[in-house]
Amino acid sequence: MASAPEADDKFSQAYLPDFCAAGTILVILLVAELVAIVLTLASFEPGNFLTELSKMSMFLLWLALLGTAVLCRIRPWAENQGNTQAFVICFVVLVVMCLLLAEVTYWLTVRFGEAVIIDDTHAAFLMRTFAISSIIIALAMRYLYVSSEWRRSIMLEAQARISALQALIRPHFLFNSMNTIASLTRSNPKQAEEAIEDLADLLRANLGVTKDRTTLKEELEVAETYQRIEKLRLGDRLSVHWDVAELPMRALIPSLTIQPLLENAIYHGIELLPDGGEVNITGRRIDDDLHIAIRNPVAPDQARKKGGNKMAMDNIRQRFELAYGNRGKVDVEETDNEYSVQLQFPCEESAP
């Protein structure tokens, strides 16, 4: 069974800033310096400001540079640990580094006497460093997390658009349909005319695929138009059983989902069965979710040859992920003589 998680991998990737880039380093140093100013102002003692600020800056700039260097090295690995995990990893790494640096600073101070930086006890100094650094680093990570999410959604959208273009009607279908029409122009001009109208509607729906959602009513109409054209070609070998009365027709669905699945069912299933077969399309409403299943018989020797319809499936998965996140599901089940795809997605109705 091919399931969604494998497709999820590239969607859950995190997007950390490029810590090795000069621009990023400059920003980090500026932020570190700002924090140093804020912290120094908070403990403001007249006359001592510049001395205090220089001590604080020295500590924070060291931290910022070392931290950036480490993040630069671990970024490729961290990004692949998943979106949330990547930021937790960065957080922990930075806080630990901060504490180490604090420890080193403390011992340097003790060693060289002067108490130039620290006038606390050892434990109090570490605790204070820990508290301040966790809060500031957490805030920074939160900011990076939000912008990573934003980039992720942009990437997803771009991918979905590209694959929507790739999923346009199969050339095979187009040429076969034209062949059918060429034949009908003389034997049955009226049917030929209707077939051209249907084909035009179908192409129009395909060209409009960049609008992301459509109503179930429209989506089912496109699929039925497609079915009519295939019926001319395949005759009695093709039958489609629609059991969708239970679905609310105003509900929204990513456009061009049912039609490509019906196309797969015919191309990989019905067309390769000498006596043809029946595609079953079932729609159910369960609580707030809609479930649509498309099932088709497959020739026994075809069941093993997988992968042919991957493009349409990947495309639908991506668009479901983009539209519904983890509230939508696309499952495939394959047996020796049946192939079925189940869609599950929340019912959102368009305004009447």
Partner: protein
């Protein structure tokens, strides 16, 4: 020329027939909706050219062309396809006659002019490039007059018999004129050679048993075995047979 049209889609056949007949130079002597029917008609009507779709249920166009090659006087073959960039490359490379649907009269005429019999090598090449499996799903016999297709999945073993090969399958036995070597190459993943003259389907082997004179004989599923020496495993092939059996 006498042409046999083979396509699983009725409208496609209607159009090809019209194009050929309007021309006057050619006669459509038959139409078949699938590969099996095509072989029967070809055997009966002996067409000069078979004009055939590639993507068909059951026997696809390429497998059907393979079987046509077992005929005494194989007809020339022209493929018709709606769209298949890889197959077209192979057609061009091997100078195979082909037409693209919807078919143009002039191109059909050209293809008919150069139509020729296709060798198995050429067909294998087309199959490979178009991603269609080159392995036959059926073996074909027409030695006893009538044409018969035997699904390879029902074959228990092949036994060389002088000039021919005897096919033992679930519904009896038949003679085919493929060579044992060809069959061995083609079905290497499901059949195993047990002696110089026999190939046995690995899945139909139940066990090995010792005969009275100490040789090893194959017992087929269902308990059947060959009364003669047909299923004796030769010493040379024993290791390989055992290895294949272990693999399942």
């Amino acid at each position: 020329m006498n042409v046999l049209i083979v396509d699983d889609e009725a409208p496609a056949r209607v159009r090809l027939r019209r194009l050929l007949e309007e021309d006057g130079a050619h006669t459509v002597i038959g139409e078949a909706g699938n590969g099996k029917r095509a072989l029967e008609l070809a055997a009966e009507l002996e067409p000069d050219v078979v004009l055939m779709d590639i993507r068909m249920p059951g026997l696809n166009g390429i497998e059907t062309a393979h079987h046509l090659n077992t005929f005494e006087n194989p007809p020339a073959v022209i493929f018709a396809t709606a769209y298949d960039e890889y197959a077209i490359e192979a057609f061009e490379a091997s100078a195979i006659g082909y037409v693209l649907k919807p078919v143009r009269r002039e191109l059909l005429d050209q293809a008919l002019e150069i139509a020729r019999r296709l060798s198995n090598n050429v067909l294998g090449d087309v199959a490979k490039k178009s991603g269609i499996s080159d392995r036959r799903n059926h073996v074909c016999t027409r030695l006893q007059g009538e044409l018969k297709l035997i699904p390879v999945s029902e074959v228990q073993y092949f036994l060389a018999d002088q000039k021919y090969v005897n096919v033992f399958h679930l519904n009896g036995q038949d003679l085919i004129d493929d060579s044992l070597k060809t069959l061995e190459d083609e079905f290497a993943d499901t059949f195993v050679r047990i002696h110089r003259g026999a190939l046995v389907a690995v899945t139909s082997i139940e066990s090995l048993r010792k005969t009275e004179d100490g040789r090893l004989q194959i017992v087929l599923r269902g308990g059947a075995t060959d009364d003669d020496d047909g299923l004796i495993v030769s010493r040379r092939h024993l290791t390989n047979v055992k290895r294949r059996l272990k693999k399942g």
